[in-house]
């Protein structure tokens, strides 16, 4: 079961390999983000260099999938053929206080018409798309 109907663009790692550890991690059910080995700064989305100390020595660290809703939106108008009969859905931007307040996007599971509370606690849910080509796993969110 996936929150959105199948057929949306499948995420694949960039040709240069920058974000491959993230997408490989989600297949294992692990949330991997970047942290600078030199100064400890957390970073998301992935980049080749630490924005704080400019070191190229970035590591990938597994973090707990817990956060709070920073912002949200509810799309109604379908802009992609796969969303045609979808109805509204919810997208949340979640900040991770235990990882430098980096933010991650995802859908908020549950009733697509439910009220959404900014600052509410949420936890990650791994949503595999094994039949997609190529297969991938999305990180979704539900109220904690």
């Amino acid at each position: 079961m996936s929150y959105l109907k199948p057929g949306l663009p499948a995420p694949v790692a960039e040709n240069d390999g920058l974000d491959a550890p993230y997408w490989e991690g989600t297949r294992r059910g692990e949330l991997m983000v970047q942290r600078c080995k030199a100064c400890g700064t957390w970073q998301w989305g992935p980049e080749w260099i630490c924005h704080k100390c400019l070191s190229f020595d970035m590591s990938w660290v597994r973090v707990e999938g817990r956060g709070r809703i920073y912002s949200w939106e509810r799309p109604w108008h379908p802009v992609h053929p796969a969303l045609k009969d979808q109805g509204p859905y919810i997208v949340v931007l979640v900040e991770l206080p235990h990882a430098g307040n980096i933010r991650m996007l995802g859908n908020l599971l549950g009733d697509p018409k439910q009220a959404v509370r900014i600052s509410a606690e949420v936890e990650a849910v791994f949503e595999p798309h094994d039949d997609a080509k190529p297969p991938f796993t999305l990180v979704q969110w539900k109220y904690a």
């Binding site: 663009p9 499948a10 995420p11 694949v12 998301w44 799309p75 802009v79 997208v91 933010r103 999305l138």
Partner: protein
């Protein structure tokens, strides 16, 4: 402060537009639209188009300056430039680039243009089917975040939440644009007035934005001709002098995956101070404002960041009577703008800013001396500019 400036160095002496069409309805190919707008601007300036020696555009405009120069038979091409990225955020940036080229002696007569025929090419507001998403798109598209509205609604939602802004503020922006379009026969939404009730009853595109909070998609082209200020009085029409222009965005605004530290902004917090410093103008001195509306929430944030009111004053300031020409405190989007005149990717706002200084708008403000444009809220880079009459120099 620096004494390097564009203030008073160049003037806009010609404006041109094609008729504006609903998206996909242009009878002409995009390149023809570009040519027609450029020739209209030359005609307006009273010059032989062969006097043009440079081109500036933005947002991946597909009409290559070398091809334009060849088609127009220009004796020589001296300047060609495209403002990088940022969609409509490049509108004032393209004018700034053209101005810098003229002021710096790289060219003498630069045309700023933008042309769109979305039937010939891809629509902005729709995504192609299937496929894969890489890089930043991989963090958005699989969650159903693909169109510009979906991309930016969360920025505005956070701003509305932080500042307790009610529904009326965004609605007032839409109502003002539609009210102005009813006076403008060029406007695609001319003859289609909007009421508060119709706004409230309209469908959601993506909460917090309804149908009337979102710009149109259109076909057409617009162009402006920029020359050195010392030559401006030799042209047929009253010149609009560039007093200031600024472009860019804040610290890490382009961080991927919605990680800009100042998320709830329209990206102008660092740009606006540079604009006012160059122009030597205060927000209270602006007589008429055109503010790019991809979405009303972005206009709201832009007005705050350009100092027209504080975020906590938005509910009180943003009522239709304050935004209407000629008597409002801040007449806004007096041609109808992207919402109701035409979405010429915001270049129609530059044209309207010039028209106001000439006294030729269909929603004319009384004797304006300072006419301002804000381009492309929430994207990066963004840009804005201030024009003045000869009296302001």
């Amino acid at each position: 402060m620096t004494d390097r400036t564009l203030r008073g160095r160049v003037a806009i002496v010609g404006i041109g537009e094609t008729p504006y069409y609903r998206h996909g309805k242009s009878p002409d190919p995009e390149f023809v639209l570009a040519l027609k707008a450029i020739l209209a601007a030359a005609r307006d300036a009273g010059i032989d188009p062969r006097r043009i020696d440079g081109f500036a555009s933005y947002s991946n405009d597909r009409n290559d300056p070398s091809r334009l120069a060849a088609a127009l038979g220009l004796p020589e091409l001296r300047f060609s430039n495209m403002q990088w990225g940022g969609g409509g955020g490049g509108g004032s940036g393209a004018v700034a680039n053209a101005a810098a080229a003229v002021a710096g002696g790289l060219a003498d007569c630069v045309v700023v243009f933008r042309a769109l025929a979305q039937g010939q090419f891809q629509r902005f507001g729709a995504a192609p089917p299937g496929g894969v998403a890489t890089g930043e798109a991989a963090l958005n598209a699989p969650y159903g975040v693909m169109s510009p509205a979906q991309r930016y609604a969360m920025r505005a939602m956070r701003f509305l939440h932080e500042n307790r802004i009610g529904d009326g503020a965004q609605r007032a922006i839409a109502l003002a644009s539609y009210a102005h379009a009813q006076k403008n026969p060029r406007a695609v939404m001319h003859g289609r007035p909007l009421t508060a009730e119709a706004y409230d009853a309209s469908r959601w595109i993506v909460e917090p934005w309804r149908l009337f909070d979102c710009c149109q998609e259109n076909d057409g082209a617009a162009a402006l001709i920029i020359v050195p200020a010392e030559q401006a009085k030799d042209f047929a029409r009253k010149p609009a002098y560039l007093l200031g222009a600024a472009l860019g965005s804040e610290y890490r605004n382009g961080a991927r995956g919605h990680n800009a530290p100042l998320y709830a902004t329209s990206s102008f917090t660092t740009v606006a101070p540079h604009l006012y410093a160059m122009a030597g103008v205060k927000p209270s001195e602006v007589d008429v404002l055109q503010s790019y509306e991809n979405f009303t929430g972005g206009v709201l944030m832009s007005l705050v960041e350009h100092g027209f009111f504080k975020a906590e004053e938005a509910n009180d300031f943003l009522v239709p009577e304050n935004l209407l020409a000629p008597s409002g405190k801040l007449p806004l989007n007096t041609s109808g703008g992207n919402l109701a005149e035409c979405y010429m990717h915001g270049l129609e706002l530059q044209v309207e800013a010039v028209r106001q200084l000439r006294g030729e708008s269909t929603a004319q403000v009384r004797d304006p001396e300072i006419s301002m444009v804000i381009s492309g809220p929430m994207v990066t880079p963004v840009s804005s500019m201030i024009l003045g009459s000869a009296e302001t120099l």
